[in-house]
Amino acid sequence: MAELCSLREAVSQLIHDGDTVAMEGFTHLIPHAAGHEVIRQGKRDLSLVRMTPDLVYDQLIGSGAAKSLRFSWGGNPGVGSLHRLRDAVEKGWPHKLDIREHSHADMANAYVAGASGLPFAVLRGYTGSDLPKHNDHIRFIQCPYTGETLATTPAVRPDVTVIHAQQADRQGNVLLWGILGVQKEAALAAKRLIVTVEEIVDKLEAAPNACILPKWVISAVCHVPGGAFPSYAQGYNERDNRFYLAWDAISRDREAFTAWIQRHVRDTADFAEFRRVYAESSQLAEAA
């Protein structure tokens, strides 16, 4: 049953060292605030899962929180590489990162299987691709009716899923809209679910068939306005494209990255303070 609490409490009580954690968001509604709180609390050995690891996963990986990564596309959307992810994969810094690489179609199906209580998913995929040669979790079966060969993938069943959404009501029911990505599936596939939201409202004014997560599938709801920054929340704020560009320079260099994380994340009390510190430092950078 959803408890309304601070993000600090939620991360502290619900995410444990060694957990399998999915923080989902397909460009839209990425739970950056929660990612920062995980770094701030020094969580370790996380098995991270995400279709599109981007800046927040780059930060988690560079900060040494991750043991492994299951993913299907790792880049800085619209900009280029994730330098911390690359450094971990290419040079093992800050330590070795086990990667298990899939395709988007595979990962989307794996979340669906997880939400559906199935141990695996079936898809028409990977024919001729080298990916199965480097990932023995990708397997193939025969259709029991036609004999066709189809690919399989293990279900994603995170210990904890974290998502950001637009609204919760005071009971903890959550509403999201716009680009939904695989958030509903990731939410329902997880043992524990943390949702950060833009706004707490008296009553969700939801359309029929809207995407609602009822309070009884949620472990904690945390009110974190702007908690997707520099991603966006449709109807609330816009994507800060400059942050994505700036990240390229910050993340290229180990020392610059480490100093940035120290100043902006480890030395700040929460995401609101991060936003203030970041606003100051980016104004200075622009003035320079």
Partner: protein
């Protein structure tokens, strides 16, 4: 002196290949530029689907990411990403998959995973994304990428997504539902697979480009069709539409263009 850039020629030539009314699964970056240019010129009824969920997106500026709000706001509807891959792509509803890549080989197989050995990479690329299943399930595939020896290689470091595999009828024998790549559009020329061998063959050269430039920019002995045409240069309409689109995009996003 031409009044347009080679990149503009590439985007215009790629856009022209998208038939009006086609349902197009759009990769971000060059494919998204070409698909939207098509929609704004000869193909107003083209249906653009992005893997993040928008169906029938009609953005007025190019998206910087695959999940920009602009895509959702202008779409006929937005469905979950899982549904996009299951009901729409795998379900056989996509006419054209529009892809880019870091590397391509003579049979239009694509690499977006890694340069060098997988376990000790020289360069780690973003990875597969939607490409393997777009390449497999779209009824046909268009590829747009800049031509050069590091991209057009004799041997891929990694096959992320299949084109025509090792050529001939390999694709059909593998049971893939779609036809595979039907054209590769670069900043130098247009290639199509040979009807029998499925080896990429230059069928049209952009104005001002020489055969030598194309040979030089290709990592295998590139073949030319018996009849090689010259690509029609961008019309004023096409160029105006492309430039207006990119100007609107630059104003909306700052200096950057839509990327990977």
């Amino acid at each position: 002196m031409s009044s347009y850039t080679t990149n503009e020629m590439m985007s215009v030539a790629a856009a022209r290949r998208l038939p009006d009314g086609a349902v197009c699964f759009v990769g971000i970056g060059l494919p998204s530029t070409a698909a939207n240019l098509a929609r704004l010129t000869h193909a107003p009824e083209a249906v653009l689907i992005y893997e993040s969920g928008p169906i029938g997106a009609k953005p007025t500026v190019l998206p910087l990411s695959i999940g920009d709000g602009e895509l959702a706001e202008t779409a006929d509807t937005v469905v979950p990403t899982s549904e996009i891959f299951r009901y729409w792509l795998q379900g056989g509803r996509i006419d054209v998959g529009f892809l880019g890549a870091a590397q391509i080989d003579r049979h239009a197989n694509l690499n977006t995973t890694v340069i060098g050995p997988y376990d000790a990479p020289k360069t780690r690329l973003p990875g597969a994304g939607g490409a393997p299943e777009i390449a497999g399930s779209a009824k046909e595939v268009l590829i747009v990428m800049r031509q050069g020896k590091r991209a057009f290689v004799n041997q891929l470091d990694f096959v992320t997504s299949v084109g025509h595999m090792d050529g001939g009828d390999a694709r059909a024998r593998a049971g893939l539902p779609g036809k595979g790549p039907v054209a590769v559009i670069t900043d130098l020329c247009i290639m199509e697979p040979d009807p029998v061998s499925r080896e990429l063959t230059v069928v049209s050269i952009h104005p001002g480009v020489t055969r030598e430039q194309i040979v030089e920019a290709t990592g295998w002995p590139i073949r030319f069709a018996a009849q090689v045409g010259e690509t029609v240069p961008p019309t004023t309409t096409e160029l105006d539409a492309l430039r207006a689109l990119e100007e609107r995009t630059a104003q909306a996003h700052g200096k950057t263009k839509g990327g990977e």
